[in-house]
Symmetry: C7
């Protein structure tokens, strides 16, 4: 089931941070308040100005990105938990 | 009875999520806070800029869409419960 | 007594919903929170941009419209209760 | 003493609604929350856009208008109580 | 000591309203909530748009003006109490 | 150590008001709520519009200015306490 | 691991202020509320206007800058604590 985000929205698969040590102990980590890492799954056609001009987004499917931990709306598509957010919630591209 | 949404508004028929298991048991589901699914019934002629320019919408009648669970205003037309919302409340198109 | 709404305002006659059953019993109805129906009585010359450009409205006298239940300001003209509201309070046209 | 309102402001003389019956009894009237009626006494040269463009107002001295009951600032000029308000506080023209 | 207001600011000398009767009795007067009268002492070069365009002000030194009683910031220049405010705080010109 | 303010920011050295009488007695003075006086130490290259246009500032190093008492952010550069603020916090130029 | 900030964001390495005296005693310092110093590590391609125009930033990698103590979002990249903030949070360039 394909999903096309509208306008300047992107669909993101969250990459869970490793929260266990090598020995498997869960570490309560203040780092959990830091930005989350994710992979862009799909992007909208671009931001739409009031006069109708469409500006393509700067991220593309496959990009690994950082975004605010609380950004976006959770959505389940084909049984997978994904996030829909605006490109402006993306802080930058890793890699 | 036809209804023409004004400007950048759309008329949406909510598609209720299946909340029962195969055996018919209702599952209280946190997923209820997730976006709702719907079908576009009618769309306005487009967003109108301050200078009068009209930009047609990116969704059309028949599109299956996701929208914020609490978006839109309920309206009963010909005995059917529908929703009027702005295109900006639509997160994306499924299909 | 004529009344010309200014700019992007419209004058609306509310059409009261039937709240009685065939047998005349008043039904307390949650539907009362739904949009109201009305008829456009008069419209302004159009929205005025900062540079003075006037964009004519998309509704006209005689249109049957839906608007938010709490939209507009009540006004009594020639003994009739009417509503003055902005075109942006109109959700769409019925018909 | 002349008074020239600045920009998109207008000077308005409030026309008090008749609040007595023929027999002189004062009727406490919820209608007092409705818009007030007034007469335009003087108008500014027009709204001024950020780039300096001036757009003349749509009301003129002598117009009978409706405005929000609580709009404007009271001012006493030559012993007369008048109101200074913005044209956007004017709902429409009667006549 | 000269003072040049910046951009769309003006320097105003407040003209105190007469609050005494002929016999010298001070009258507590609700009129004190009404606009204040003043004289323009100096004006800025004009409002500056985002693109750098400067639009000269519509008031000039010597104009008698009305302004909101609580508008502006008090400043003492050469021992005199004056007010610095934006032109948009000026309601109109008397005279 | 040089400091170049960014965009429409300016660096200001506060000129402390004399708060003592000739005889050296400190006078608690309501005037302390009035604007502060300062000297411009350095200015940014100018305000930057959304389209990238840069508009040079109207104040320059050496200007004596008035600014809101609580404007700006304190910063210590080379051991000296200075203020960084936006040009829009400057009310006007003295002299 | 490279990180490319998006649009008008910059990646900053905070330069901790020396909080000890020569003798090594930690001084609780109100100066901690003052702006922080940092070094630009990477910059985005520029601010993007609604019409798609990109305006390059005025800071570049290697610049020593001052920024509001509470600006930005902490992020750990390759084990190093860095900050992502918008260029508008940068007050100026030292050097």
């Amino acid at each position: 089931m394909a999903f096309r985000p509208l306008h300047d929205r992107v669909l993101v698969r969250r990459i869970e941070a490793e929260e266990k040590t090598a020995g498997g102990i869960i570490i309560p980590d203040s780092a959990q308040e830091k930005p989350s890492e994710g992979e862009i799954v799909a992007v909208g056609s671009g931001a739409k100005a009031e006069d109708g001009t469409v500006t393509p987004l700067d991220v593309k499917a496959g990009d690994r990105v950082l975004f605010g931990k609380w950004s976006g709306t959770e959505v389940k598509l084909d049984g997978e938990d994904l996030l829909i957010m605006k490109e402006s919630d993306i802080m930058g591209i890793i890699g």
